[in-house]
Symmetry: C2
Subunit: 300 residues, 2 copies
């Protein structure tokens, strides 16, 4: 399996039997409701709206939707919205989560809380899936948004989160690049020794179901010809399924450079909990929100 | 003064009175000689070749040049080439340095050695000057290649190296962005507190002759409209002269993403010593080598 466009994700999602239900925490907002209405219309997910029922009805009517279009579960404060949405998943009344107009911490707190049963003990991380015009397949990128300075143990979790997500998307044995500023292991640069350690964990079977390469620099990662010139023995240079960044700052700067200077388009969810969480910001494009929901639906 | 193309750098360089002399450490190589012959022909610099005179003459003849085209100073081992080139600068027989076919450490060691008088006590850093198709002016970027994890003190030196370089290029009061993954100061993310500290040093006059902004995320840095939407009060968003990256890995990944995905073109020199050092790799394009030499000539 290989995805080369966002449209393909939506298609695969539509082809699945039974609509997944998304608990939308803090749904009383035009932008949020527009996104879930679109996702429902397109056969991506069935929303369960969590928030103030009166305000939700009001916003729905502005969008020309009857108040009873979707199941609505009352919750009033932001904290309550997060808690109730998480409980809906716990009670199997929803399959995945979406952050609406509440703060990220309002949904992360009940998600992490072991009482609610959605914390798997694994580090949670962002999983972005990207259309990169310079590549032939969609590229998973992690973690550009959750953990500022991941330890080796956390990087292992990040890799496993990505690999399991790619398996769920139908990619059997994803290739994973551990990106660094250089392609040689240097004891003075911990990100390069971490990369070597992750490759070793993969070789020993501690991280299974994927092929890990690293440390690898961005030019080798992107270009088979540069890899050949630099003598980097790696059959998937220019054609990786996934890349892991050394830190949040590095990942964020690199990812935004790809987006702003290179036309990359992203979709993203939080993975590592029992169900994925769609976390698109208000600034996200309609396409990003839609594809993120299709992605979460496939991962749940 | 504002540069918008590499051609402009070459023009300004040609317009200066008197050719600068470049000591080429390890000159007995086709690629290196091609670059210096081109720079000489274009009125950018007068080469002083350091290396084995017989081998240099041989390589010159292959390129159709008489052996006595340029001054040649004999040196045999790589270490000797570095040392002799640095001594030429010390003796004022050369104005700047270029690394030919020797290792970077072979030129850095005599450069750092206080005996040779070129070490200013300031941290040395890479100064790359970039044509970024998405921007209206050339962008200085540092440090993507010398210091893996710069301390605040080293970042201050990196900023001062850039600012002084931009002054030499005729940019009177450059605007400097301290790039981070986020635009808010977060005590848990040292790169953001460093950014705030650099802004404060600028306000107090410890770093003069520039305007420093930060922490600033890549999207705000690149786009005035995003800055406005995110409420980031900064008149030069989308129009900075210079950006400072939080670490070598972050800078390298971001810079290569701009180059490979976004069509950015770079030229680069090492600054912070008494004279600049051209350090283009064998893989560098002819344009990169040429512009790097013009840049070094203007900075020396």
């Amino acid at each position: 399996m290989k995805y080369s466009s966002f449209e393909q994700i939506a298609q695969v999602c539509r082809g699945k039997e039974g609509l997944k239900r998304v608990a939308v925490a803090g749904a009383a907002d035009q932008h949020v409701l527009q996104a879930v209405i679109e996702a429902h219309k397109e056969g991506i997910a069935e929303p369960v709206l969590v928030g103030d029922p009166e305000r939700i009805a009001e916003e729905l009517s502005k969008l020309g939707c009857p108040a009873d279009s979707f199941e609505t579960v009352p919750a009033y404060s932001n904290q309550e919205c997060g808690q109730v949405a998480v409980e809906l998943v716990k009670e199997e009344r929803a399959d995945f989560l979406m952050k609406g107009m509440i703060e990220t911490r309002d949904i992360m707190k009940p998600l992490v809380d072991k009482e609610n049963g959605l914390n798997t003990g694994r580090t949670m991380s962002m999983f972005t899936y990207n259309y990169v015009p310079q590549m032939t397949r969609l590229l998973a990128l992690a973690d550009g948004g959750m953990i500022p300075y991941p330890t080796l143990e956390q990087k292992k979790d990040i890799v496993m989160n990505c690999v399991e997500s790619l398996h769920k998307l139908g990619i059997e044995r994803p290739t994973v690049a551990i990106l660094c500023g250089v392609e040689k292991v240097n004891p003075k640069m911990p990100e390069t020794t971490d990369a070597a350690a992750l490759v070793e964990m993969n070789r020993k079977g501690e991280i299974e179901g994927c092929e890990i390469y690293g440390p690898i620099s961005f030019d080798i990662f992107m270009d088979k010809e540069i890899a050949r010139l630099k003598g980097y023995d790696c059959p998937c240079a220019g054609d990786f399924d996934c890349c892991i960044v050394p830190s949040m700052a590095a990942g964020n700067l690199m990812h935004k450079a790809m987006i702003i200077c290179g036309g990359t388009k992203m979709a993203g969810v939080i993975v590592g909990a029992k169900v994925p969480v769609v976390l698109s910001s208000r600034g996200a494009s309609a396409e990003e929100k839609f594809v993120s929901m299709a992605l979460a639906s496939l991962l749940s």
